[in-house]
Amino acid sequence: MTADQLHSIPALLARNVAAFGDKPAYREKEFGIWQSWTWAQAADQIDALAAGLLTLGAVPDDHIAIVGRNRPALYWAMVAAQRIGCVPVPMYSDAAAEEMAYALDHCGARFAVVSDQEQVDKIADIREGLTELEHIIYLDGRGLRKYDHAAMTSYADVQAAGRAAGLSARLDELSAARGYDDTCVMLYTSGTTGRPKGVVLSNRNVIETSKNSSSFDGLRVGEEVLAYLPMAWVGDFIFSIGQSMWTGFCVNCPESEATMMTDLREIGPTYYFAPPRVFETQLTQVMIRMEDAGRVKKWLFDHFMAVAHRVGPDLLDGKPVGGLDRLRYALGNLFVFGPLKNTLGLSRVRVGYTAGEAIGPEIFDFYRSLGINLKQLYGQTEATVFITQQPDGEVRSDTVGVPSPGVELKIADNGEVFYRSPGTFVSYYKNPESTASTKDAEGWVATGDAGFIEEGTGHLRIIDRAKDVGQMADGRLFAPKYVENKLKFYPNILEAVVFGAGREYCTAFINIDLTAVGNWAERNNIAYSSYQELSQHPQVLGQIEAHVSEVNRSVASDPMLAGCQIHRFLVLHKELDADDGEMTRTRKVRRAVIADKFSDLIAALYSDATDVYTETEVTYEDGRKGKITATLDLRDAVIAAEQVAA
């Protein structure tokens, strides 16, 4: 098969079977052992399921929902859908029933392939409203024995029926009928505003993007990746299906969500992706454990980390480093960096990416100084991930890199970033208005982010969401994310939300990081009985106040954004949570929801009060609602003198 015939995922699969049929394609840890499937075995599983779907009555262009954590069988289900010309629609497995109902109803899925009883129950709750859903296929039958099986079959049974039907000729016919511009997959965006939108991506989008990005980083057959990020997220689709199918590398699935770190260590991925939060958590854990280490170990760690900070990034970028420093670094690698990377499961990482949110410079430098090639990329679902990424040797924490291969960028007058690329999405499903307002006739797509291209290097720098960038009452620029990111870089601040559009001055809500602050409390014999109590502890508030004041100094040094200094703040009594609608499932804050829900707190911040009493409704994981009350301290931060612009 020639390269120009590789116009669909099933075609790539067939190529992989022919080219490296006996190499591992999927691994999953089950019963304590890594089980693996070669490309040939995976293709056989996929064909069996695809034929089984045909026997259930699936026809081309049907939507097939896929719900569950990362498992080879669910990846196969996506490819099986494509094999018969259907469109897989992966969904967030931790979504509440109503959220799932919306997506299932909107895409009109006739079939759903789900992981287990939990998902079956969730769909059962909403099934009445779903007129088009005909059949559920479940993977793990535990607890489902007593359920009514009229419209429900196990994955293995569907495969058995498929095998018995002998439809392989029909499968090839259906696969061959799919063109380069037919739909490959549909993914729902998490949506910081309003309802999720179904982003339609064509085979061209997915395959061209996979091809370009694989060659950008020189990905090849022998790479190992760990598939642990939500299957509904475009990144996972590109890494675990797009790039894996294009280059033929193996996708490893963890045993369970809780074992991810152990599994990471065992697999030792060479190509690794994680949102900043994962890197932050890992670093926090390392630091906490070093606090508990013996004096000698602590000294070794501190000493060699200082060496690493000085020369590590330069070594990684291939810049000249003195012989003595090289020797010191090699010693450090022997005693500290090597074992540490091994513990983190990052020993073999050749290409590491972080994206989704800004990453703190200290965190970024920490990993790079250990010799881990961590880079940033900037992307979105509508671009099939890649808009910009950092090439090896040009990695910095404050930019998101240069345009990815095939991507054109332009910056609008208001600072909004636009792009055009082979990955540009086809449309939003059943939503021509949104499609038209996002993508213009020439194919330029608005990212919704404000940024600028750095002179000299050509790197893109993102300031904030374009719609969040506003003006304060005196007309100065207001960019909340810019300040929030600075705040979030402190290990004891988990989340921050800054207000100030149209106001005299800026204020902020802050969420403490329970792991870091809890550990600090334990170390200092500070007793607390709840998150709420800890969050209002005077010493905690004092620390946060110091951080805010420090951030103010840093903000004041930028003449353009000096107006964004935080005058007053409070520490929230609950963690912002996706279950309460305050964040998206990918953990981005929903400003409008928060501003509305906590309007009493915002009003108090803009008053003279020193504390405020509040009642908040919370939703528990099982969907029940409760109420928590608290009296929150309102604190003033130190305002730094602004540098007068010349």
Partner: protein
């Protein structure tokens, strides 16, 4: 033996698995159990409830062969059981968990659960020490069985963790895993939910139902949480001061005046 019956949720309960006939147990002058008879049927979830000191744990110890009643007979799988040591009872296919967790704190979860396979191991101490041939094969087979239970109870993430480092709720789950590893015909649970929070109780209830459903294991449990007992069990025995004061389905027991008076408090109009 009486006929089988079908539960409201559609499970078929088989014939009598264990029959307690006129059991009386004394400690010196104290009569802990006074002439109690009841049966446990194959595939059912049978609860024993009662206020503190009613003799529930003593009853469980009689079933598990730890206490030997002065009067009465224990019939298991259609035969009268002679006086037995607890390990003989384990070999017969009865496994239990304890009210106060009895795990090996310094050992990993995996090793603790492997202990439950003891009755399934045939090779001797020397061949196991050499770990060759039959002993090695046997360990692999048993490990596989244990891994299925670890998967079933969702404790993969703590497989290698020493039990002493685990929170209470997880220890309870590990104990259940160890009991299940023995592949028992009859599983005895002594207050499986004691000291747990609501979420842990929900998890444990689901595991108990799943064990019963997946493996067809007959379960006898003692529990204080009335909500749990009424939701889980097919039939309930109620004890008070060593006497049996009620026996029947949760609804029957709930309506029994003597039970209400003794246990649930006197009803007011």
């Amino acid at each position: 033996m009486k006929d089988s019956y079908v539960t409201p949720d559609g499970r078929t309960i088989g014939g009598v698995l264990m029959d307690m006939r006129g059991i009386t147990l004394r400690f010196g002058g104290v009569e802990a159990i006074k002439d109690i008879s009841f049966d446990i049927r194959e595939g059912e979830i049978r609860a024993i409830i009662g206020p503190n000191g009613a003799g529930k744990s003593s009853m469980l110890n009689v079933i598990s062969g730890f206490y030997h009643p002065q009067e009465g007979e224990v019939w298991f799988r259609g035969a009268k059981r002679p006086t037995m040591r607890p390990y003989d009872v384990a070999r017969q296919g009865i496994a239990r968990t304890f009210q106060n967790i009895a795990l090996f704190e310094g050992m990993s979860v995996l090793d603790n659960v492997m202990c439950g396979r003891l009755t399934h191991m045939k090779t001797g101490i020397f061949s196991q020490a050499l770990w060759h041939g039959a002993a090695q094969r046997e360990e692999v087979e048993n490990r596989e069985a244990v891994e299925r239970i670890i998967d079933f109870l969702e404790i993969q993430a703590i497989r290698k963790t020493p039990v002493g480092r685990l929170p209470y709720g997880l220890k309870k789950r590990v104990e259940l895993a160890r009991a299940l590893a023995a592949e028992p015909k009859l599983l005895l649970l002594d207050e499986p939910m004691a000291g747990m929070n609501v979420e842990e109780k929900e998890d444990m209830s689901r595991f108990i139902l799943d064990v019963n459903d997946e493996f067809g294991t007959t379960i006898a449990l003692i529990e204080h949480d009335m909500g749990v007992v009424m939701d889980l069990s097919d039939r309930v025995v109620v004890m008070d001061y060593g006497r049996k004061i009620g026996d029947g389905t949760p609804d029957e027991v709930r309506g029994n005046q003597e039970v209400i008076d003794a246990y649930l408090g006197v009803a007011h109009d």
